[in-house]
Amino acid sequence: MSAEACHEPSPKPAPPTHPTPRRLVVLVGNPNVGKTTLFNRLTGQNARVGNYPGITVERRSGELALGDDGVAEVVDVPGAYSLAARSPEEQLAINSTLGIGGFERPDLVVAVVDAGQLIRNLYLVLQLAELRVPLLVVLNMIDEAGEARPDPAAVSELFAAPTVATNARSGEGIEALRAEIGRRLSETGEARVDLPYPPDLRSALDRVADALPAGWRKNVERDRALALWALSSIDPDDELDSIPPALRERCLDVQRDLSGRDLDLEVIGARYAFLDAHADRIFGRATRHPPKHAGSARLDRVLLHPLFGFMAFVGIMLVMFMALFSWAEPGIASIEAAFRALGELAKARLPDGVARDFLTDGVIGGVGNVVVFLPQILLLFLFIGLLEDSGYMARVAYLMDRIMRALGLHGRAFVPMLSGFACAVPAILATRTMERRRDRLLTMLVVPLMTCSARLPVYSLIIGALFPDRALLGFLPLGAVLMVGMYVFSMVMTLVAAAIIGRTVVPGRQVPLILELPPYRVPLLRGVLRMMVERSWVFLKEAGTVILACTIVLWALLAFPRAEAATVPPTAAAAAPSEAASKAIALEKSYGGRLGKSLEPALEPLGFDWKIGIGLIGAFAAREVFVSTLGVVYGVGAADDDTSPLRQRIKSETRADGKPTYSALTGLSLMVFFALACQCMSTLAVVRRESRSWRWPAFLFAYMTALAYAASLLVYQGGRLLGFG
C-alpha cells in the first residue's frame, strides 16, 4: 500500500491507434436493477469477460455502436448501493467511476436506477453528482413503477444530468438511451448537486482534500466530495487497497478531531433529507414508502414458510443436485467416448512412437480432461443464473443463514457446498456468487473435501475388493453402510475444516448480514444463457490450459523413459497377456513408477504398497483414474466398465510371506486417504484461476495431503493396535 501503487500505469491502457479516441462508458447501479440486461441490450453479442486486476471480480465489457460516431467501450461495474467502501471489491465503484487507483477515467458514467425504488437508488446518483462526474441517469424498470411513474425531467433537473426512462427487459427506451449516450459523449458537462453540509464539516473536508494525491484532484467541489468519500470509507481497520498513506493518516486525524460527532449519520441523513425533500417534485408522496411487491409477497408467503418454504427449498436444491450428479452423466459419458474414439483413431492412423503417444495420451487426453467438465459447469451456471435472476438466490442465503453462519460460512456458500457433492470444479466456480474474498476463499478451501462423484468408482472398487459381501444386523449391506459412512465422514471433515481454516488461515470478522430480497422476476433466458456460455468459456480458456498442461506432464511422468521393446519378447502363444504385462512393466519403470516405488517407505505406515503409490500418482489426473492405473499396474488392463478382474487380483495379491497384501483395514485407510487428499489437478487449476494466485492451490494441496496422511495413518495404525488387519 505505497503511494506509488496508485500511480501505476493503467492495467488496461487505451490503444492509441484508433482514428477517433475510444470512449469509455461505465454502467453503475444498485444490485438487481437490471443493469446487466441493459448492458446486454447495449452491447449486443460481443461482451468480453475478464477479471479486474488483483481481485476476483468479473469485469464484463463490450462495444456500443454509436451510429456515425464510432464505438464506445461499455463496462458493467458490479452492483453497489453506495460508493463508500471498506473492501477492494466495494472500492471498484469509486475507482471505476472516477478513474483513480489505476483505473481508466470514463468519459461517461451511466447510473442505472430502479424506477420502482427510486429514492434509495438515487442515493448513489446523488454521490455521483456530488463528485461532478459526467453523468447520465437511466430510470430502468419503468414498467414496474406503474402509477408512481417518476418524472425524468425532474430527476434531470435535480442532478444536472440527462435522464432517460427504459425497460431493459422489453427493450423500451433503449434506442433513446443509445442516442443520448452518443449526444452526452460529444459534449462536456458534469452533473452537480450541492448539499448544505455544516461549515465546520466543509473545512474538515478541505483539510482531507489537501492530502489527496495530485492525480485524484480536479476542482474544489470534486475534491471535497472525494474527501468526504475518504472520510466515510477509511477506518483504522478497513481493507481498502492503494490508499496513499498520507491520505489515510489525514483522514484518521480529522476523524479524531471530529470524534464527538456522528459524521456518518450527519452525511447520510443530509443526503436522504435532500432526496426526501425533492421526492414530491419527482412523484407523489405515496411512493416514498411503497408496499412490498404484491406478487413477491404472495410467493414469499409460501417460499419462506417454515414448512412449505423448506420443502420447496429442498426440492429446488435436489433438482439442481440431480442435474449435476445424474443429468450431466450422458454428456460426460459421450464426451469421454468421443475423445477415446478420437485417440484410438489417431493411434490407428499414426506410426508408433513418442509423438503418437504424446498426441493421443497427452494432448487428446488432456483436452478431453478439460471438456469433460463442461456438462456440469454449463448446468451449474444455468441453475445459478436462474436462481440469481429469479431472486431466489437471495432467499437461499436468507433461509440458510442461520446454519451456514454457525460454520463461519456465508449463506450463499450453500450452493457451492451442495455442488461439491457432484464435483469440486463447478463448485469452486460457483463461489463467485459471494461478494467477499474471504468468504469465497474459505468456501474454495473446504469444498474439495466434499465427496465428489469421482471418488465413487474408487470407493466401490475398494469396497468390492476388500470388504466381505455381508449385511450388518441382518439387513444393512456392509457396502452401502460404508458408502454412507464416507459421505458423513466427508461432511464432518468439511465442517471441521471450515471452522478451523476460517479462524486461522483466512481469518476475518464475521461481517453482519445485509441482504436484499429483490422482487421475484421471471428470468430472461437469453441473459442467463449468455452468462452461462461466457463463464464456461472463461473456464475453458483459463483453467483449461492448466489442466491440459498438467495432463501432459503426468503423461510424460508415466510414459518415460520408454520401455525397450526387447524387454518382453512377444510370444505368439500369449500375445494378449504379454501386452498387458509389458504395459505393467513399462509403467513400473517409468519416472512415475519409480516415484511410486520411492514413496513406498512413506506409504507403508498407511498400509499401502508401491502399486497403490503409482495408482495415487495416476489419480492426480482425476480420482477415478486410480482404478485404471491400478489395472495397468496389475496387468489386468485398464478396464473401465468391468472391474471384476481387478477386484479379484487385489483380493488375491499376496506378500512374500504368503499373507494377503491388502486387508479390509488397508481398504478403509485407502478410502479415508481418498476422502481427504487433494487428488485432483483440475481442482487446483480452478482454485488458482479463481484466487488469482498459486499460493492458495499450494496451500489447499498441502493441507489436504497432510490431513489425508495423518488420518490414514491413524486409521491403519490404530486399527492394527486394536487387532484388525
Binding site: 420502482g116 447520510i268 408496499p291 409477497a297 453482519p512 436484499e516
Partner: protein, 99 residues
C-alpha cells in the same frame, strides 16, 4: 413506546430512532435508507428464527436479530392480522407487482 427492531412483531410498522452497531454495518444500513425517521415494517422472520425481513422504502432487506437489536425504534402501528404486506394507505399500489 421505545423499543428495538428485533422486538417488533411480524407485520408491525415502526419508525427508526437511532441506528447503532459496528461502523461499516451501520453506515451501510443507513445508506440503504434506514435513517432516523424512516418507517420500517417487519415483514417476516426466517423459518429458523433468524434473520428477519424488513421493508424499507419499498425494498425488502434482511438483517440478523443481533444487529436489529441495535436499531432503536418507536411503534407507529400495531401488527396487522391479515394481509401483512398490503397497506390500506396506498391501495392503488397493490398493482405494483413484478410478476
Amino acid at each position: 413506546m421505545s423499543s428495538n427492531l428485533a422486538a417488533a412483531e411480524r407485520g408491525q410498522v415502526v419508525t427508526v430512532e437511532r441506528v447503532g452497531g459496528e461502523r461499516a454495518f451501520r453506515r451501510r444500513l443507513m445508506e440503504l435508507g434506514l435513517v432516523p425517521g424512516t418507517r420500517v415494517e417487519l415483514v417476516g422472520v426466517a423459518p429458523l428464527g433468524d434473520p428477519i425481513e424488513l421493508l424499507v422504502r419499498g425494498a425488502c432487506l434482511s438483517i440478523r436479530r443481533a444487529e436489529a437489536e441495535r436499531v432503536a425504534v418507536v411503534a407507529v402501528e400495531a401488527a396487522r392480522e391479515s394481509q401483512p404486506n398490503s397497506t390500506r394507505l396506498e391501495p392503488e399500489l397493490e398493482a405494483r407487482s413484478a410478476m
